[in-house]
Amino acid sequence: MKRTLAQSLALYGVVTLTVAMILFPVYWLVVTAVTTTDELYRLPPTFWPDNPQWDVFVRVWEARPILKWLANSTLAALGSVALSMLVSVSAGYALSRYSMKGGATMGLFVLTAKMLPATLLVIPLFSIFSRMGLVGSLWTLVLAHSTMIIPFATWMLKGYFDTIPRELEQAAMVDGCSPVGAMLRVVLPIATPGLAATALYAFVLSWADYAYARTFLVNSPDNWTANLGITTMQGEYVTYWNEIAAASVFVALPIIAIYLFLERYLVGGLTAGAEK
């Protein structure tokens, strides 16, 4: 179908305008960061500052333990992703390949688990972690984030394994592999894109958490995650929006980078369940 020039122009116009509107808040974050405090608290607002103060990033980086926050977020995410993937890969494989008694019940349960509000689960988890003396430790996040990741990762991986023909394992077993050998040598190497997508998505999920971090770590500044750290910058006495914005850029950057470079994997994971 050929478009006329007018149609093409209209399409480009609408697309550009839409993208601009959607991305404007992100632009505004950067502008806010590099605007001086004087200019910031003035109307009409400055759409691009006269003297962008790029050193705000250095100042904030030095004034706040941003690297530590980022490291804590990463640690919690890596820990929960590793733990969850370990159990989810094997469970997803089992659900895909074996018909087990209680398999349907498991399915129903996982469905419910995906609907669990974090605000409900955080209550008993807080009691349990207090009792175990874990509150304040990053381990709380590893466990709490696993409650979000395991249900979805198990079913996402089951979906991936379902797309791999069983004959491959059967061939491997005839070739002399044990069932576990067939899984490790044949199925997992083939499922690598699926595993990567699931792990990546799980990582983003963990990184985005605020509720659990706030509840378990608020009194342990050394273990604050990036999200928690950012919120503590708000409204102590005066809110320095440019500094918060600069810190926010640091926190948003890793995830946005993952999104831009690995979008295909993330989106693949996101839509895997819905297209069936």
Binding site: S90, G107, R131, A245, L270, A274, E275
Partner: protein, 308 residues
């Protein structure tokens, strides 16, 4: 002719034997079952148990308080709970509708073929990758009562006589939350719809064109029906997200002013960690879960499995 030693008899627990192959399934699923039991099922039972006790701050292992329906009785008699239900419902409807509208629109837009489409697609879905807390930081500043961009815009466009006190005005606070959530929530709808759109075979459109169907007719009779299954699941997932979201509201308005943005999720959390009424909090949380499950079962029925 065989060069294969018979090893089958010597292997300990040889799971490759036909009679034992099914055992592996149970072995592989066991760690997940144990994990889930420890960090989801057991805590859920603890929460359920708490909701039937009049406790302030529970001490695990201490003798439980006697069984009581007091928390639920208090809930059903409190205006706060019914207000939270109403706020949740409003927010769910507004945010879901807004997200679907914007999401579907953007998906249809980038489903066109044009140069730079990949970049446009990435750009349109970018808010999905912005962590919720960061989105709140941006919008909190844009909704600032004195120097916020939105207030200024409203004045310039003649929509308001003066700067709008977004966070201290009940009606305005609700819309601030809703707009932030739509910005954060529509890309998911867009991504899902785009995937759905791209799985519609081009033949259908070609056939419809041959039959003389116009743009609107093709949308109405081909795109919409074929997109419905994906859209249905997406709507339910969006709805569940709004229902359970904590961070956006908590950081943007804290549920205020005057509880005008206090959803069931916020109420659950605040009852526990602000007012230290763990029993009541658990009761609200349990009800929230029940509503979530019922709502999605009602909306998707037997298709609810596809929510995985």
């Amino acid at each position: 002719m065989t060069d294969t030693p018979v090893v089958g008899h010597r292997k300990f627990l040889d799971l490759a034997r036909p009679s034992r192959q099914h055992l592996l399934g149970y072995i592989l699923i066991a760690p997940a079952v144990l994990m889930v039991a420890a960090i989801i099922v057991w805590p859920l039972f603890v929460a359920l148990d708490l909701s039937f006790q009049q406790v302030k701050i529970p001490r695990l292992g201490a003798a439980g308080k006697p069984f009581s329906l007091a928390n639920y009785r208090w809930l059903f008699n409190s205006r706060e709970f019914w207000l939270a239900c109403w706020v949740t419902l409003k927010l769910v409807v507004v945010v879901t509708a807004g997200s679907v509208l914007v999401g579907l629109g953007t998906a249809l837009l980038v489903n066109n073929r044009f140069r730079g489409r990949t970049v446009a697609r990435l750009g349109m879905a970018l808010p999905w990758a912005v962590p919720e807390i960061i989105a709140v930081v941006i919008f909190a500043w844009m909704f600032d009562s004195s120097f916020g961009l939105f207030g200024w815009l409203a004045v310039q466009l003649g929509l308001a006589g003066q700067m709008i006190p977004w966070v201290s005005n009940a009606g305005a606070a609700f819309w601030a939350v809703a707009i932030t959530m739509i910005w954060k929530g529509f890309p998911f709808v867009s991504i899902m719809c785009l995937a759905g759109l791209q799985s519609i075979p081009a033949d259908y459109y070609a056939a419809a064109k041959v039959d003389g169907a116009g743009v609107w007719q093709r949308f109405r009779w081909i795109t919409m029906p074929l997109l419905m299954p994906v859209l249905g699941v997406t709507v339910v997932l969006t709805l569940l997200w709004v229902f359970r979201d904590f961070s956006i509201i908590k950081v943007l308005t804290g549920g205020g002013p005057l509880r005008s943005t206090q959803t069931l999720s916020i109420m659950t959390y605040d009852q526990a960690f602000q007012y230290h009424n763990f029993g009541r909090a658990a009761a609200v949380g349990v009800l929230t879960l029940v509503i979530c499950v019922l709502a999605s079962l009602l909306m998707l029925g037997r298709r609810s499995r596809s929510i995985y």
